[in-house]
Structures are given as structure tokens and as C-alpha cells.
Symmetry: C2
Subunit: 323 residues, 2 copies
């Protein structure tokens, strides 16, 4: 029976890549209908210079941000290697965890200075990243909210909803976001510096070697602190940038899409696409992005069939589901 | 391993039906964007009175059709029980076939008279149906083409293509179309009489007990004539109207959607939805429909993942794929 799953999975991956190519690129904003065609296909789309006229893209720099935010406390994620929400081994016993960052609030000015000074160094002991994903641009960063659009009009019209969250990301070259997926339609807008995305379609779930891992968080001293009560989280163990390591029998059939966003560029990252994100700072040592999360549509074929694919991927790579 | 497939299939069917309800009904035509939202979800849509202003809906009756078509030869499908393209047993040896109709050309007037006279009878020896699905409204029935729209504007705009085929269906109450699926986005327009659809979502593929059957066709004497060279065709063996017969372990998890179309009503039947269609004649003993087939989009997640589901359904019901 497992050979039947393997054969059907191979068929699916081969068929998918025969029928789908690189990321489409537009040079002006799509209409709601044009955008909806990408939602229907669950295919990404880049809009070069799509948000280039936003006040944020034209005005944000270290001086401006400092001037607006001053000493307002902001949430900061701290990790030893710029590796929030990734799989790590605990040195003490070699056991593996899905590790969340150490989080604290600090004055924006302190955080910004650290980002700038640490960006100049090759290696640092602590990497900081403001990456709360809790609608923080309408929360603690609300003084900066006026510099972006309140929504992405063509997306709100097409999807018939307002964004569920608008998230601001401020970091530097030392942070990377590990391969993961979100149950959101995502419009990602690059403001300062650049971001490099590696994207895998949801049908490639059998390639990423998803395993259930116990969760933990970094403590203030960067030791690993397992969650209590214990919890299990599905994590991609395969890294498309190290394709030989931790591969499943299907990983070689993956065709990761790679795209760089520069200031003013927008990316439509469709629901449930796996993405890994790294970044390059501006000359001032910072990288800023804003993303709009729209609730995905759980109706229709996509969500239910995609969950099935994921279950089959766990089965085909002979992984056990957490109890 | 088969229990893993079974569990994931049960999960998928349960989740799908928790998240999806009955068919949406509109009372005016959708905009291209509104329509595209249904394409994106792969969910059906009824537009009551959507084509009620068409000349065809206002003028077609037996006299008008006779007047326009006269003795022009048309393709007619002939079966003993109104059962074209269905699974039948050969009486001689009890073996089972996917059976196509006997086909011949006859003058339209002869065909029409037969439809009308046979509709009045409870049982008939031969059932006739003009159901060519070869763009016949722009072919042998082209004199009637001016009475319908050349395309469905909101669909053509949304899908960025013209219809691949426009098919005319003329029959009476004795014909039923067995459960099957097509790789087309389908806009079905009811003109004369009514049609009753039973619809199953593509994710329900494990419910329909699809088996590979040798194909055959009725001969002129209504005996079964196996195809030579032999061919195997996947056929739904489960009939949602006889749910106890030929059921798979998943059939009871199916939730067939049922909808009746009256003259002037339109149905968007999304790509790959299973459908069974029966019909009631007008007072004059005929039933006429026109459908617009738009090529489905093979790009994106839907097609590749759907083929995977179908493979898994074959595996989970322990069917062998034809060699």
C-alpha cells in the first residue's frame, strides 16, 4: 500500500511541475479579478514596484523610525543565530526541538541601535528581530501605520474581507525565517532592504519531511526550555537550501521557486505555501517589511484536500502523527 | 497503511462537509469576479432565471424546432433504457461493461416525432437522445445557434477564454445520464422542460466506487458489442439514488447535492464534479438544454491534487488500476 502512495505522490509532483512554471511578475497592481485568478490557482504573484508610492517606502529610514517611535516599548524576539521558530538540537542531550525565540519588550530606540550595530558584524551573540505577527502595525507600532495603506484594495475586494492582521517586520541580515506555512492569504510588501523568498507549493508537502517535534523556547541565557505542558508541533525538517540533508524520497522532486523583493515590491504568497525567508539590510543596517494577512477560505476543495495530502505525506515518509 | 488512507479519507470527507453546505443560488447573473470566487472554491452555483431572456427560452417548442430544423440529419444516441454511457451487464455471460449508445443520423423531424410519441408511453423499447457533446449547436444544429448567447459573458471574462464547445441536448423523460465527471468548467442552461442534477464534489471520489470496466457499445439490435481493441474506462459503480448498492466504506459519508433546473435557469457545474442528470419533459414531450464547456485550468493546485485523491480512492477501495 505504501508503494501506491509513493507512486501517486510521485505522479502528483511530476504533473504539478509539468503544468506550473515560475512565478508570474506584474509591473502594475492587478485588478481584483486578475488577483482572484491567482487565488483560484493558489499560485504566487509578484507585483514589482506595487507599493513604491507608499509613504513608508519613500520615507522610512533609521532616522525617521527613531523620530516617530522614540522609546515606545516594542516586542523583540531574541535568538542566538537569527533562528526563531526553527528546529534545533539541545546540546545537553542531543534531543531535537521546535524552538521559539526568547521574547521581551524593549524601547524601540534600544532595539534599533542594536540592529544597526550588530548588522555591521559578521557574527553576533544575540540576534534581534521584531516579528510579532500579532497585528503589531496596528498595535505597538501604530504611529507608523499611517505610512502604509489600511488594506490592499484589490485583495480586500476580491476576497470580500479586510485584513485579519497587518504585521510589521524589522530586523537585519542575521535573521532567517525557517520553512513553514500559514493558513492565510498573504500580501507581503517590502519597505526597506530586501527579502529573499524560497517558495514551495502545498502539493510539495511530501518533500519537506514534516515531523512532529516537541516545542521549546530560548531562555534569556539562550538555553533551551521545553514547553510545559509538553506540546508537539509539525516542522519541516528538510531545508531547500541544503537539499541533501534530511531529504525524503520525494524531496528531489521539489522545485523551489526563488524570488527577491526589493523596496516597493509586493508578493502574493498564497495560502498554505511553504516559505523560507532571509533578508539583506539597507545601508543603514535594517530591513523592514509589512504583510497583510487575509483569512483563507476554508470552504471548497482546497483546504480539505490539502489536509489529506499532508496526512498522506506523513504516511508516505513513515512518520508518526503526534498522539 | 490502508487504514491510514482510510482514516485520512474519512477526515477529508467529514471536514469538507462541515465546511461546505448547499448550493448557492443567485437571482441575477454574477459579475466575472463573483463567478471567479466560485471557480476558486470549485463550488457549484445556480442562477435562477439567468437565461430567461434568451430567444431560445422564449421561443423553442416542438413546432418552432421542427420549423427551423426540418429534415436536417442529426446524430441520435439510442439505448434500450435511456442509459447511455452507463455500466450494464451483458445477459449472455453476466460480464459488466461501460456501454455507449448506438449512434445513427436521422432526419430531425423523425427524431422529434419519436421523442414526442415515446414520451407519452410508460415504457419504450428504444430511447432516443440527441446528446453529442461535440459542439453540435455550432455544428449540425447551427440553425438554432442564433437563439442562444455565443458565450456566457461573465464566464468568458473571468476565465479569459471562449467556450470550447456549445452542446445542445434534446431528449425526453426516458433518458438519464449516469454519474460521471468532465475536465471542464460547465455552464448548463435549461431551455425546455426540466433537469434534475445530483452533484458530488471531486473530494468525494472515494465514495463513488470507481472501477475500471471494459467498454462496449449497443449494436442496432441493442445487444452489447465489446470494443475492439478492448479498452478500460473508469466508471462510478455507486449510484447516489441507490445508496445501499455497490457502496464503498466511504459512500455513506457522501452528501449529494440535488438541484432542479427549470426553463431559464443556469447551473455552474465546476470542473471534475460528479453529476447524474435526469429530466422531465415539457407538455409537448421534449426536454432541451444547452451547455457551455470551458477548458478547465490545469495549472495550480487543483488538477494535480485531485488526480492524487482519485488514485488514493482507487487504492482505498482496493481497486486495481487498468494496465
Amino acid at each position: 500500500m505504501s508503494s501506491i502512495i509513493a507512486e501517486a505522490t510521485t505522479d502528483m509532483l511530476t504533473t504539478y511541475h509539468e503544468l506550473n512554471g515560475d512565478i508570474d511578475v506584474l509591473y502594475e497592481e492587478p485588478s481584483p479579478l486578475e488577483f482572484m485568478r491567482y487565488v483560484a490557482k493558489n499560485r504566487p504573484l509578484v507585483v514589482r514596484r506595487g507599493c513604491s508610492k507608499w509613504l513608508a517606502v519613500r520615507t522610512w529610514n533609521a532616522h525617521y523610525l527613531q523620530d516617530i517611535m522614540k522609546d515606545i516599548p516594542v516586542g523583540v524576539a531574541i535568538t542566538p543565530h537569527g533562528n526563531a521558530d526553527s528546529v534545533q538540537k539541545r546540546p545537553e542531550d542531543g534531543s531535537t526541538y521546535f524552538v521559539k525565540p526568547f521574547e521581551l519588550d524593549e524601547p524601540f530606540s534600544t532595539f534599533l541601535s542594536y540592529l544597526q550595530s550588530s548588522n555591521a558584524q559578521t557574527t553576533v551573540e544575540l540576534v534581534k528581530y521584531s516579528q510579532a505577527q500579532n497585528d503589531n502595525l496596528r498595535g505597538e507600532y501604530s504611529h507608523l501605520y499611517r505610512d502604509v495603506e489600511a488594506d490592499i484594495r484589490w485583495a480586500s475586494i476580491a476576497l470580500q474581507k479586510e485584513p485579519d492582521a497587518i504585521n510589521l517586520w524589522i530586523g537585519n541580515k542575521h535573521s532567517t525565517t525557517a520553512l513553514h506555512r500559514d493558513n492565510y492569504e498573504n500580501i507581503y510588501c517590502q519597505i526597506v532592504g530586501s527579502k529573499d523568498f524560497v517558495l514551495l507549493a502545498p502539493v510539495e508537502t511530501a518533500c519537506i519531511n514534516e515531523k512532529f517535534m516537541p516545542s521549546a523556547a530560548y531562555a534569556a541565557d539562550m538555553s533551551l526550555d521545553p514547553d510545559d505542558p509538553p506540546a508537539q508541533v509539525p516542522c519541516a525538517v528538510w531545508d531547500p537550501d541544503k537539499p541533501e540533508e534530511n531529504a525524503t524520497r520525494f524531496s528531489s522532486l521539489s522545485k523551489p521557486l526563488r524570488i527577491r523583493l526589493d523596496p516597493g515590491d509586493m508578493l502574493y504568497l498564497p495560502a498554505c505555501w511553504y516559505h523560507k525567508v532571509s533578508q539583506d539590510s539597507s545601508d543603514e543596517g535594517i530591513c523592514c517589511s509589512v504583510n497583510y494577512w487575509y483569512d483563507m477560505d476554508f470552504e471548497g476543495t482546497f483546504f480539505a484536500s490539502n489536509s489529506f495530502l499532508r496526512h498522506m505525506a506523513w504516511a508516505s515518509t513513515e512518520l508518526k502523527k503526534a498522539p
